[in-house]
């Protein structure tokens, strides 16, 4: 087929299935990144534009921990995740909370400002070079017939499922989780019964940032990092979150898979460049026609 000079090829089912499966692996990465974003949105009702920049920062942290101390990226979680939590906590408590006056478009701009600061600080200190972690097992894996899955991809998939489950258990079974949900539902009420809402918000933001660090560790073996890495992920993460329904963990997981598969099929059929339009197209459609997403409910 030929549309506007673009060749639309016809592929065998093996190729298509292989593409879809690699979309599932890609989608698990997207889901991992989106989980933190959706947690923050669900509780604070803010859209965190700095999410991508925080991911980039965490990826650099993983890289440097590996580079200087030779620590495996998965083990690096033990250092990077607590650090990310503290950073996120401070960011919400002392910067975003103090400057945004609780207006959502101002919050978006404040987090944009933060993203710009982080990105350019990375550029200043780490330069624009691409860095990547080398692990001995990044080419080993399992042959799935139609495609080959390397271990880092399998770990990312397992990780996204485990993190979703863990997050759900945390939010429903622990006191902290229940407090967070209480604040999400009834801000004023929570304040009246003496809950320190600012503290809970900052904890949530810290958790969201910690999740970003988990994602960074899981994708370190397969992705390179440079100061712009975050921007590449931020629009995708928004799309995943909006598609799944803002605030929904299962939605983020499902949304991640849908976007991952769509992107891979888009690349297969429309080419490396135009294939990416599927993501913006989904984003626009969802915003216009179903802003509550697939799994969200009306407020």
């Amino acid at each position: 087929m030929d549309i506007l000079g673009l060749q639309i090829p016809l592929y065998s089912w093996e190729t298509v299935l292989g593409s879809a499966i690699s979309g599932v692996f890609l989608g698990s990465i997207y889901a991992l990144v989106a989980l933190g974003l959706t947690l923050i949105y669900g509780v604070l009702h803010i859209i965190n534009f700095a999410h991508g920049a925080l991911l980039m920062l965490a990826m650099y942290a993983v890289f440097f921990v590996w580079h200087f101390w030779g620590i495996d990226p998965y083990a690096a979680m033990l250092i990077v995740v607590p650090g990310a939590f503290a950073f996120g906590y401070a960011l919400q408590r002392y910067v975003i909370g103090k400057t945004s006056h609780g207006r959502d478009e101002i919050i978006l701009l404040v987090t944009l400002g933060i993203a710009i600061v982080i990105e350019n600080a990375a550029l200043f200190f780490f330069s624009a070079d691409e860095r990547s972690v080398q692990v001995p097992y990044d080419l080993d894996g399992i042959d799935l017939g139609v495609t080959f899955a390397v271990y880092p991809e399998l770990f990312a998939l397992g990780g996204s499922l485990a993190v979703t489950l863990g997050l759900w258990l945390f939010m429903t079974r622990t006191d902290t989780g229940r407090a967070i949900r209480g604040v999400a539902k009834e801000r004023q009420g929570a304040r009246l019964v003496g809950i320190n809402v600012d503290h809970v918000f900052a904890i949530t933001f810290g958790l969201g940032t910690a999740l970003v660090a988990v994602a960074a560790s899981l994708l370190a073996p397969t992705y390179t990092v440079h100061p712009q890495t975050g921007y590449l992920f931020v629009l995708i993460a928004f799309t995943v979150v909006v598609l799944g329904g803002m605030g929904s963990f299962v939605g983020a997981l499902a949304g991640g898979f849908i976007i991952g598969i769509t992107e891979q099929l888009g690349r297969l059929y429309l080419g490396e460049s135009l294939g990416l339009i599927t993501i913006s197209a989904i984003f626009i459609m969802i915003l216009l026609f179903r802003p509550t997403g697939l799994f969200g409910h009306k407020t």
Partner: protein
């Protein structure tokens, strides 16, 4: 002096000073610097109409700049259209994109951060399209216009690189100045019109505006058209000056961010805000670059780190930007003067 001249003395002086810049500024490097500052001031005034006066914060104003620039470049490159004709299509194209994005967003009632996100998504979609449809847009390698070396053709081809000495030095300055004066004149007029009052009203409270007889949908559509026209006009200058545009320049995030920096730092919803913001940003950028060069040698990023911090500080503590701070200071001085008497 007649009444108009008297009551608008400040504006007339500002215009005269800008027109007379070539009398005082001879260095090519400084003219370039001023041109760039005015360019961002025009880009930002477009954003300010919609965001500052209308309260609809766009994160994708590159949509309009990029469309203006691409149309200006492609009509000349592919069809040999005169740049003087292409520019009308450039602005109309920007307005059409504004109508399209505005209709979808406002009809479906997107507000606040949802509007910001959808403009971002549209800019990204246009970015992908510009990169992918090579037969139409030349794809990722961009559109490079031929450099005119014939001095007699300088005006006809709207290219001043090989023109007579005055045009060569100041031609592009007057181009961006003309665009600036049109944009700021239009904003000045708008601020004093019913349309402006209604636009500000819907920014302040959309329900109340609607209750008081304002067609909020139509008012927002008018605002996005005006905004798009101004921002896309800056694309004309850009293409004539640099004779080049590619998808990243046109639709990448940089222009969208520049467009909102200037008015927010300068003063949202004020005529001079974007100009003040742009002067501040570029001045600061120049100073820090010199300082960094002296200390560490050339390294990118520092000026943007500062702007990011300033953006956050302004949003948090000076919501009316530098213009607002200046006004508050002025009022304090005026009151102090009165108290002494």
């Amino acid at each position: 002096m007649n009444g108009f001249a008297k009551s608008h003395l400040g504006w007339l002086l500002l215009a005269a000073a800008l027109l007379a810049v070539p009398v005082f500024v001879k260095s090519g490097r400084w003219i370039e610097f001023i041109e760039l500052t005015l360019f961002v001031a025009v880009l930002g005034q477009g954003w300010n109409i919609l965001g500052g006066y209308g309260g609809q914060y766009s994160f994708g104003h590159a949509l309009f700049f990029g469309t203006g620039a691409y149309i200006q470049a492609l009509l000349q490159f592919k069809y040999g259209v005169s740049p003087w004709i292409a520019m009308w299509f450039a602005v109309s194209g920007g307005v059409l994109v504004g109508l399209f994005v505005g209709y979808l967003s406002f009809r479906y009632g997107l507000r606040g951060s949802y509007f910001a996100l959808i403009t971002l998504a549209f800019a990204e979609a246009f970015h992908v399209v510009a990169r992918s449809f090579i037969s139409i847009t030349e794809g990722g390698r961009g559109v490079q216009l031929a450099l005119n070396r014939d001095p007699d053709q300088a005006i006809a081809l709207f290219q001043f690189t090989f023109a007579d000495p005055f045009l060569k030095s100041y031609g592009y300055y007057y181009v961006i100045l003309a665009l600036l004066m049109i944009a700021y004149g239009a904003t000045w007029w708008m601020e004093r019109s019913r349309f402006g009052a209604q636009l500000v009203a819907l920014r302040e409270n959309e329900d109340a505006a609607e209750a008081l007889g304002i067609n909020t949908f139509r008012t927002k559509m008018a605002a996005i058209c005006m905004s798009a026209a101004i921002t896309s006009s800056s694309g004309i200058y850009y293409v004539q000056k640099f004779l080049f545009v590619d998808p990243a320049i046109a639709y990448g995030p940089t222009k969208s961010v520049e467009a909102l920096f200037a008015p927010i730092i300068g003063g949202l919803g004020t005529v001079l805000g974007p100009l003040v913001g742009s002067v501040f940003i570029h001045g600061l950028s120049e100073v820090t670059r010199e300082a960094i060069d002296a200390v560490w040698g050339a390294r990118p990023g520092v000026d943007l780190i500062l702007f990011g911090i300033i953006l956050v500080l302004v949003l948090g503590f000076a919501p009316k930007g530098l213009v607002g701070l200046a006004e508050a200071a002025w009022r304090r001085v005026a009151r102090g003067g009165k108290a002494q008497r």
